[in-house]
Symmetry: C2
Subunit: 150 residues, 2 copies
């Protein structure tokens, strides 16, 4: 199991690939973000922006699943208090193949809990053209080896 | 249809209520965030934190739907470039009834597009005990009346 010690500053963890389907985009948007450019490729709003676009929140969900599959489910993660930045830079379209990285920007041990590490992480997603479609930064909590053994 | 002019600084728009079900929490998490404390109430990870907790990304999705239903689907929204802050302050649990507000913190007309308004918005969600469970801030793009007429 990966612990705080396995995430040194500068570490870059690859994620994906994940193909985004139109059906999945529409299913997510109908439930959580039913704006026409997310739900209906024939709508005026969608055709006005070059076709269906994934909800930014759907892209966040896809990113989270890529993080889980890349390393988080095999780690001593203790959750996350939030994010400091979310940037939806380019539209995600049906058929896009997303890959990404998690980069460890900084880290420290919690002042109040010596077995808890705090990782400052940057997450990026690229499409099949190599364009960055989303960028986020946030804090992840990760137990130390000593914390896992306790 | 609501336009930029309908969102003065200081405006507070109510959202919800929305009841969060265990089935919905698990369905979201199995697809997008399959950490055991989000997917399995009987798991050691869930019992260790007092029971099943909604994925923070699921709470974001619920918030987005509450925003859509409260005002966004009846507005001249042009999307959003991202968020500057996402804070998951307290766990969201099965059966929680969420309400919330969107507050207009600031606004201005785009320098490059005089028919496009930029709203600085704060979103908050509370549970049935009145506790704030999530807080986010970001920018929303909204056409002006002139932009809609054009």
């Amino acid at each position: 199991m990966l612990t705080y010690e396995d995430f040194p500053v500068g570490e870059v963890l690859p994620m994906g690939p994940k193909t985004v389907t139109e059906a999945e985009m529409i299913a997510f948007a109908e439930k959580y973000d039913p704006q026409p450019f997310h739900t209906d490729p024939e709508s005026d709003m969608a055709t006005g922006v070059g076709g269906l676009i994934a909800s930014g929140w759907h892209t966040c969900g896809i990113m989270m699943r890529m993080i889980c599959d890349a390393y988080l489910l095999d780690s001593a993660s203790m959750g996350a208090p939030g994010l400091d930045e979310v940037r939806w830079l380019l539209p995600v379209r049906p058929g896009d193949i997303l890959t990404g990285t998690t980069t460890v920007l900084d880290r420290r041990i919690s002042n109040s809990r010596p077995t808890l590490g705090l990782l400052t992480l940057q997450y990026e997603l690229q499409n099949q053209k190599g364009e960055t479609v989303m960028l986020t930064k946030g804090t992840g909590m990760m137990a130390t080896k000593e914390g896992v053994a306790a």
